[in-house]
Amino acid sequence: MSPSVLICDDSNMARKQVLRSLPEEWKNTVQMATNGAEALTILRDNSIAVLFLDLTMPGIDGIGVLQGIQKLKLDCNVFVISADIQPEMQSKVKVLGAKEFLRKPIKADVLINHLQQHGLL
């Protein structure tokens, strides 16, 4: 059974890049959000199992989404996918509950590998 997936990134290309990297059987249950506010609405109203989250976005950014998830006490596997790859940022998102920090541009094999490590595949 394929889990409900949300991809949140302000870049269309980045969203497509994540989508393309997902396992085939996941691809028809994917929702998209173009900013943090949209993502939080979808997260609140749906039960999302896996979230792929960009950090630098206008308005509510990735950090804001992570804080929102904590506040709403949602049970969701968050994979941060960001261009801002400094070690401090990586540990910050882990503290805020992200499962993994993946650097952009995302590669399919890397993504699959991490999903397997967390028992999602």
């Binding site: 870049s11 290309m13 261009a83 401090e88």
Partner: protein
């Protein structure tokens, strides 16, 4: 002019590439400067020649402009301008790890500009399978009066400019500057080919 404008997809693709390059460049800089570099969402605009003149002439307190040419394979080339405001230059020597009396204010600006430009463009070039070479950076004399003059006197006529607002905050100190990439017509066509090639992979 409109034929040089990027399509929505091309613009999005370019922004994402710049985003990634900016992220990796600031990671390199953070390691080099031995401090955390807080990177704000870089705003990226593509503007045509006329618009840019207007924006720049409206900009008050422009203290300094450092220009540096870049050129790579596949006809990708242009000139990077780093535009500083008056209040941004105070502690650059400190940031770069020099003693203040070791180098003049001009040299500090030239150094930081060259580092920002080359780290960023190196990463950017790598993403599009390219490699950049650079001219020596040059501080333009008294920026306020001469910026538009300089833009008019450039050896190539450029048609599109990418304006990337960079904001580096370094733990207890922040500095802002605008990086403006001026790109001539032929290079735009080449960049569009590269972007289309990347987009075709999706």
């Amino acid at each position: 002019m409109s034929e040089f404008h990027l399509t929505e997809d091309q613009q999005d693709c370019l922004e994402e590439l710049i985003n990634i390059a900016m992220g990796q460049a600031s990671d390199q800089l953070a390691r080099y400067l031995d401090t955390f570099v807080y990177l704000k969402v870089p705003s990226i605009e593509s503007v045509d020649a006329k618009e840019l003149m207007q924006t720049l002439s409206q900009q008050e307190n422009t203290m300094a402009v450092v220009s540096q040419g870049f050129f790579g394979y596949e006809g990708i080339r242009g000139e990077a301008l780093l535009v500083y405001q008056e209040e941004d230059s105070g502690r650059i020597a400190d940031l770069l790890g020099y003693e203040p009396d070791e180098l003049s204010q001009d040299e500090q600006l030239i150094d930081i500009s060259s580092i920002l430009t080359t780290t960023f463009l190196n990463v950017f070039a790598r993403q599009i399978d390219n490699q950049m070479s650079y001219n020596a950076p040059k501080l333009l004399p008294s920026a306020k009066d001469n910026l538009s003059e300089h833009l008019q006197q450039m050896p190539f006529s450029w048609d599109l400019a990418l304006k990337v607002n960079i904001n580096y905050q370094v733990t207890d100190y922040s500095f802002n500057c605008n990086m403006i990439l001026l790109i001539p017509e032929t290079a735009i066509t080449n960049i569009k080919h590269v972007l289309d090639r990347i987009l075709a992979e999706f």
